[in-house]
């Protein structure tokens, strides 16, 4: 705290605020980390005095975790990394790329946006060794390479981004204490989940915390519900065609998924009712699970959610999760919805390339794994560093997934997946019917195709 203040005072006094060395979260050489990979990397790379700037969508605790992870890159190479997170990252990155003031690396959660920028020649392609590395070292590596490869300005397909930090979306978080107190069992099927929802409401409790609020990105948590439900009510092929606009956005199967979601959106099932859910901030919604008395019992959200649980909440004893189940009556397997962050080079430099190399070291993954809310398909990263069994279980879901689908809203073009779909979910939450919401989005999509 003091050093930060001193830096500001120095800046006031017209001196450059020198980047102060960050304390490393996990001391080098201790614990089950792959320190060999760290030393090896540190020996091979020296970028003293250079700066790598990164912007991404993570703010608050997520940003702090990422910063703690990149501290190892700084320590190893002597470079300094400036990370800035913004809720309107999707807009900001486009503006700054236009203005030639792009950061070295952008952290994209939307492959669609990377594709846009790559096609305009505003992203530097990664080399083929990196592509080979990904397909060899990441679980289902080829699909990650496929996801991160786009047509460049000359129309040739190249690898443009490096996936790092994967989220599982198909999870429901709950408080074991509250479940024990109410005598509730973990549901194995969607039918049981619905029965449990009704049961909790009948007992006078509120089953769900659903919160769509997320600053400039308000609405996106709703898109995950639609996608997960679509994967559970229709064939995966329908999903694939839907995200690529081979079928209309308001295809009957999609409308049906909206209607399924609507079943959960009864006022008595939601903390604060439907109108509160439309604006409540998703980052605060976790607190409701642990309130006394509980404000809600279940929260459907991705792997990163524990970062936003109240301070001191431990995954395992205080907070736990179960797989968002599929219908017993439908034979569609157990699909998993996920998302990931793609690191793309928006302003090339030697140190930037070095940073991408750093992401190939196990330590880069372990440094975040050991905090919380981080999963990786990288087999060489030691699963022992996960802070809890829960995290290990999550990672296994990821590495074992058979039907794995990437978050659809992230695959759609920015104006839909990071625009119309979000606001559509807010409209739906506040009472618009499924057909009109879906057909509005379809109109918008067909007008930009």
């Amino acid at each position: 705290m003091r050093s930060h203040l001193a830096a500001s005072v120095a800046a006031l006094g017209l001196f450059a605020g020198a980047a102060h060395a960050q304390d490393l979260k996990f001391p080098i050489g201790e614990g089950p980390f792959s320190w060999d990979s760290y030393t090896e990397f540190a020996d091979a790379h020296d970028y003293s005095g250079e700066t790598v700037s990164i912007t991404g969508p993570w703010t608050g605790p997520r940003a702090a975790q990422f910063e703690a992870a990149i501290a190892y890159f700084e320590e190893a190479t002597g470079a300094s990394v400036n990370y800035s997170g913004s809720d309107s990252f999707e807009q900001d990155i486009v503006i700054s790329v236009e203005a030639n003031s792009a950061p070295n690396i952008g952290v994209f959660e939307q492959p669609g946006l990377v594709a846009d920028l790559a096609a305009r020649g505003q992203i530097a392609a990664l080399d083929t060794e990196t592509a080979d590395w990904l397909s060899e070292n990441y679980a289902s590596g080829d699909s990650w390479v496929g996801l991160s490869s786009f047509a460049g300005a000359e129309g040739d397909k190249q690898l443009f981004a490096f996936p790092y930090n994967i989220d599982l979306k198909s999870l429901v978080w709950y408080s074991p204490l509250a479940f024990e107190d109410g005598g509730y069992e973990i549901p194995e099927t969607m039918e049981e989940l619905k029965a449990l929802t009704a049961q909790i409401a009948e007992d006078g409790g509120t089953p769900w915390c659903i919160a769509l609020g997320s600053g400039a990105a308000t609405g996106w948590p709703g898109t995950d519900w639609i996608e997960d439900l679509l994967l559970r009510t229709a064939e995966p092929e329908i999903y694939d065609q839907w995200v690529t606009h081979e079928i209309a956005f308001d295809h009957p199967d999609v409308i049906a998924a909206f209607e399924e979601f609507d079943w959960f959106l009864k006022d008595e099932y939601l903390n604060g009712g439907r109108s509160n859910s439309a604006t409540a901030d998703f980052r605060d919604s976790g607190a409701g699970l642990f309130a006394v008395p509980p404000e809600c019992y279940m929260l459907k959200q991705g792997t990163f959610m524990p970062s936003f649980f109240p301070e001191g909440t431990e995954v395992g004893p205080d907070a736990s999760f179960f797989y968002f189940p599929s219908y017993a009556e439908k034979d569609l397997g157990d699909p998993v919805l996920g998302a990931g962050s793609l690191f793309a080079v928006t302003e090339d430099s030697e140190a930037t390339r070095g940073f991408i190399e750093f992401l190939k070291t196990p330590i880069a993954h372990e440094a975040w794994m050991a905090q919380s809310g981080f999963l990786t398909p990288y087999g060489a990263a030691n699963a022992e560093v996960f802070p809890s069994d829960a995290d290990r279980e999550l990672n296994e879901i990821l590495t074992d997934a058979t039907v794995f689908r990437f978050d659809g809203s992230d695959l759609m073009p920015g104006e839909i997946g990071a625009g119309a779909f979000w606001t559509g979910m807010v409209d739906f939450m506040t009472g618009d019917d499924a057909e009109s919401v879906a057909s509005d989005i379809e109109d918008r999509w067909s007008s930009i195709d």
Partner: protein, 385 residues
Amino acid sequence: MTNIAGKRAPLVWAMHVAVFLLVVIWLVPTVGLFVSSFRDRDQITVSGWWEAPFAVENSGYGRTDADAALREGDIWVIEGNILDSAGAEGQFGADADVRLVAFGTSLRRPSEFPAGEVASTEDGERFRVEADGTYRVELPEDPGDRAPRIYFTAQTPPSFTLQNYGTVLTAAGMDRAFLNTLTVAIPSTVIPILVAAYAAYAIAWMDFRFRNLILAAIVGALVVPHQLALVPLLRLHQAVGIGQSFLGIWLAHSGFGLALAIYLLRNYMAGLPRDIIESAKVDGASDFQIFRRIVLPLSFPALAAFSIFQFLWTYNDLLVAKVFLPSNETSRVMTVKIADDLLGSRGGDWGILASAAFVSIAVPLVVFFTMQKYLVRGLLAGSVK
């Protein structure tokens, strides 16, 4: 005029009351922000800022201490203080002046029984919890390592803290944003003044062709929405190599503020006494000298008014900063910081939001209250004919 009202006492009273109400309505939201910025996070979520001086009720729970279980006849008894249990201590602090008002045996009903009463459960367990947190639990069986939990509702005295400000100024990065805001606002205020002053003098006191046309162009420019400028000008900045940068935003703000500056200064200068200027001309002073020695010093009130205006405007701007500055931590100004970072990442942390807002309005408020005289004068010069 006061005398007519003076004759009607009720009317005077009505006026006082009306103004008082108006002031209250105008102040209440800001007071709410101010009070909240000093409150504890735990207190903000359970009681409104208007209840800040009173104790708040929070619910919590703790597990009774199984190690302390003693056998008394055929029952097991645990005694201890629930506020000392691990869970409760974290929430309420070890030595806070906390008083239990009620307790319960189920998570759902933390205030089922008033403190001091005895509660019996269906399983034959008996609980007694006092206001100071001491409890006596009687169990029919050996609890083993699964001692029962006690849920309770406790009153905590009001607490005020500077913690929010500490967090905002250090961890949340508002210190940097504050510097950035000043870095944007000060040059954006200073640069256009001189440029505008010369132009205003020319329009007010010099004769040349197209003067009316130029005045019309300036008056028209007063109302041109900044939105129009965003796309073409960012492209222009990019083309000349300025891009998104402080230099870019200084130029943009200066350009946007120029119309108002010229207009205000010209109105003021045109009102200066004609004979001073003409006698100076007769004495052989050039326009350049007249401007420097006579008009500029005399125009100080108008210059001050414009400076305040422009400073407040650039300091408070969100739109121009979002477009002309890079959106990274090192150059984000306070408005962008609040709107794009804090409102999201600290959405429910009202104390933090409130103190961040207060940090951001502190400077304008000081400027405003110390320079109000000039501001009002400038406003009048600009709009009252």
